[in-house]
Amino acid sequence: MPQDPHTMTSYLFIVLGAVLVNNVVFVRILGLCPFMGVSKKLETAFGMGAATTFVLTMACGASFIIDRWLLAPNHLEYLRTLSFIVTIAAIVQLTELIIQKTSPLLHQVLGIYLPLITTNCAVLGVPLLNVGLKHNFVESLLFGFGSAVGFTFALILFAGIRERMEGADVPQHFRGTAIALITAGLMSLAFMGFAGLDKYK
């Protein structure tokens, strides 16, 4: 199946759509807390982005399996949010344990960002969107991965801008979070330029 050019193209469009067109932060306005909190420095933005990418891809796969094989056959769709968040918390915990053992260096880089991911609403939102968009397993994984890459992309772009803004002469009443929110709004407007790009399929 994956050799079929049409399938490959549709996969490509899912990733492209998640990264640029429906960027989790700028278009879906999800996960603003880590977006504002961890974007002060470029290095921390990288760390948070890497950790989120890993966890979100895992969470999308696991939640698809739970939804398709456990909840849907028993008509328990109303338990989605609850079971997804429990699964995500467990995956984050598991990831931290495994990384701590296998790669202390990576654990030091990701550090406190790993547990923080549990409270990132984008990580819960994307699996729920997957269900709403009726994605299959591969599409779920790709959508999760694409969304996380989009999140990382937004975080890194924004961190770069914020580092430059440190030295800028901002009017007193706009300093700090105020100018950061205005900048985020302008970037959100800029990302609207991608709208419709994924409609070519």
Binding site: L71, N74, L76, L79, V86, A90, Q93, L97, K101, P104
Partner: protein, 187 residues
């Protein structure tokens, strides 16, 4: 309803089992020596040893960067235990790090306290409660007697009161017997 409970229970069971297995399988061994040294130290977090707390001092001892006689609150007994654990010579407390005092407790004279919060910022164990321009007080059970709150107080309202020996606080004192060298008897 029953299926819902069963499904959630099954999910919790699987995830719990996976986490439990991972916790055992991927357990990271901390340095056991640091833990043992840290257990001997008095946990006053006073910083008199020159390190920011008991754990950093324990790490420094384990690495060989610090000597074992830098902890005044631990006193003679602490040094003796550390020497036993590490197989080193017992030595007197290093004078530059302070002198051994009776274990005491900080007490705020609440009539004098002006509510400046300086002692709250100094306390390493968060044993002082209070807010700006409100009277502060010390939680006796949490206070380690480190005296770090005494110097910042602008009105000198903090007193160190020695803890009287009661049935709860009494500790067996290590019997010290002077051993005279054999030559002393012969002479």
């Amino acid at each position: 309803m029953l299926t819902a409970v069963l499904v959630m229970a099954l999910g919790a069971l699987v995830l719990g089992a996976a986490l439990g297995y991972a916790a055992v399988r991927f357990r990271v061994e901390g340095d056991p020596l640091v833990e043992k040294i840290d257990a001997i130290l008095p946990q006053t977090q006073c910083g008199q040893c020159g390190f920011p707390g008991c754990k950093p001092y324990a790490q420094a001892i384990a690495k060989g960067e610090a000597d074992i006689n830098q902890c005044p609150p631990g006193g003679e007994e602490g040094i003796r235990k550390l020497a036993d654990l590490l197989g080193r010579e017992v030595k007197p407390l290093s004078a530059e790090h302070g002198v051994e005092k009776a274990k005491s407790l900080a007490v705020i004279d609440e009539n004098l306290c002006i509510g400046c919060t300086l002692c709250i910022q100094a306390c390493p164990v968060d044993a002082i409660v209070g807010a700006a321009k409100q009277m502060h007080t010390i939680i006796a059970a949490q206070c380690t007697g480190c005296e770090l709150c005494v110097p910042p107080c602008p009105v000198n309202c903090i007193d160190m009161q020695p803890i009287a020996e009661t049935v709860e606080t009494w500790k067996w004192k290590y019997p010290v017997v002077d051993i005279r060298p054999a030559t002393a008897r012969a002479a």
